[in-house]
Amino acid sequence: MDKAIKTKELTKKFGNFTATDAITFEVEKGEIFGFLGANGAGKTTAMRMLCGLSSPTSGEAQIAGYDIYKETEKIKKHIGYMSQKFSLYEDLTVMENIRFFGGIYGLSNSTIKEKGEELADSLGIGEERHSLVASLPLGWKQKLAFSVAVFHEPQIVFLDEPTGGVDPVVRRQFWDLIYKAAARGITVFVTTHYMDEAEYCNRISIMVDGKIAALGSPAELRNSYQAKDMDEVFYRLARGAKRTE
């Protein structure tokens, strides 16, 4: 297996509405792949299909080398996921959350304990490890949620607008975590609204009206659209969109 993600004309229809329209792309191992698009462009639907939360109407896809239709159980073992909504248990402590998610991915108790302590220290929340997650500031929660999503060392981690609502400093710290994960060989598939974040990705795709309108590295895209930054590239593409929310 050579690619982390491989799709071919992947399509999802809801009745007459085609949310994701025959998208074809590949993501390399260890790559940070940005998945951009205006609201309603079909990003979340595409991502949900790739995670196995939603079944495609047609098309093909392989995640970590496994078929999206037949080998969902295998795929689940090799991916991590962080959703738009904050996704840890607020009424459990930091360590209890780590223990739980480690546990359902089948990690051994000693691994969980060792890695959990390490993680809490590296996030700088060692002191708070026995506090309820509800009491942590949002930025810490987001970082913790990401760390939990990659705690079982998945091959690919899917992040659905992970930095929504946090300040630029925390966003920068969050991206440091993403880089560290990528350096360990974890492929990162991330959707975002922030164009400055798009610049941090190795490659990005921009979805318009359910189709992939552009795909390439940030520099390539800037060049081909003669734009000074990603913002401009995005507006040029999104202006043509017929769908509005």
Binding site: L53, E73, Q84, K85, S87, D91, G103, G106, G185
Partner: protein
Amino acid sequence: MKCFTGWQGEPKEPSDMKRLWSFVIKEFRHVLRDRKTLLILFGMPVVQILIFGFALSNEVKDTQIIILDQAKDESSRQLTEKIASSRYFTLQESLNTYQQVESKFKEGKVKLALIIPQGFDHNLKHGNVSQLQILLDASDPNNANVLNSYLQAIVQDFNSSIQPELQLPFQIQTEVKMMYNPQMQGVHNFVPGVMALVLMLVCVMMTSVAIVREKETGTMEILLVSPFHPLMVILSKAIPFLLISILNVTSILLLSVFVLDLPVNGSLGLLYLESILFIITCLSLGIFISIQTSSQQIAMLISLMGLMLPTILFSGFMFPIENMPLPLQIISNIIPAKWFYIIVKSIMIKGLGFDMIWKETLVLLGITLFLIFISLKRFKIRLA
């Protein structure tokens, strides 16, 4: 250390039991952390048993009675004493006129009055027939009936005590035996009912809310993306409530034996097995509700309004089902609590064995399997 990092090779298969265990521990943490809910979970059965046991009772005990004695003779005094000394009635102040009695009734201060007319003693001894008038507040007809029969019984008793020589040439004697509940205690009825009610509340409402909460907060998505099987998610949600409910059954039984003096006449083991079956019925109902709804409020509303009310109405422990119109009698058959109520009553009070309740058990089992079956059919492994 196990290695999960590599692209090469499958990670070693962790045992499903261990994953389930982590999940169940987490569920227990949720329950134990929420002190208020915990208090309700364990306090409710105790409070309900005590309320039903001591506050609500349809037994006649120390009912206020007015006796308007217009005769004021030997017999009337004897009768008055007899009534006053019974534990069913307490004599209120004595009144002199019929109007006073009537105004007491209007004020609602009394529900029962006995009027002894002038010449009571004389008529009784010389005319052989003497009359008494009983006044009852029949705005509560059941209660009026009960009071009437208690008072009649005392008068009857009085009648035969003053004329012991009175013997009819022919006589039918009835011998009454109150089976299973010789003292006619009201408690016997409600303990099984409260058990059904409490288990229904805990299992249905708590399970449905616990599952729907994960949907609402978004953690359900994370769980569905994980290799943990969705059905296991639901199973692990149900386990803590199963254990809590078994504890509740125990606390209800302890209270009924040691506080209400109501022993378990039948097999304790059988009672627990049947309780576990009913708990599973309720859990599957809770799971079914949680699959159909997406907000905690709706889940709670359905559990409370849609289930509690029919349970109280149709389980037979408050209102006798035989007296209901036929359509309602038919509806009552789909209420699981009705069957459980019959089962518990049979085991606890009548002391019957499994051979007498296998039909009810079968019905309960059928309802459970049906609920599990449709839940599984409706359950979508993928969210969309």
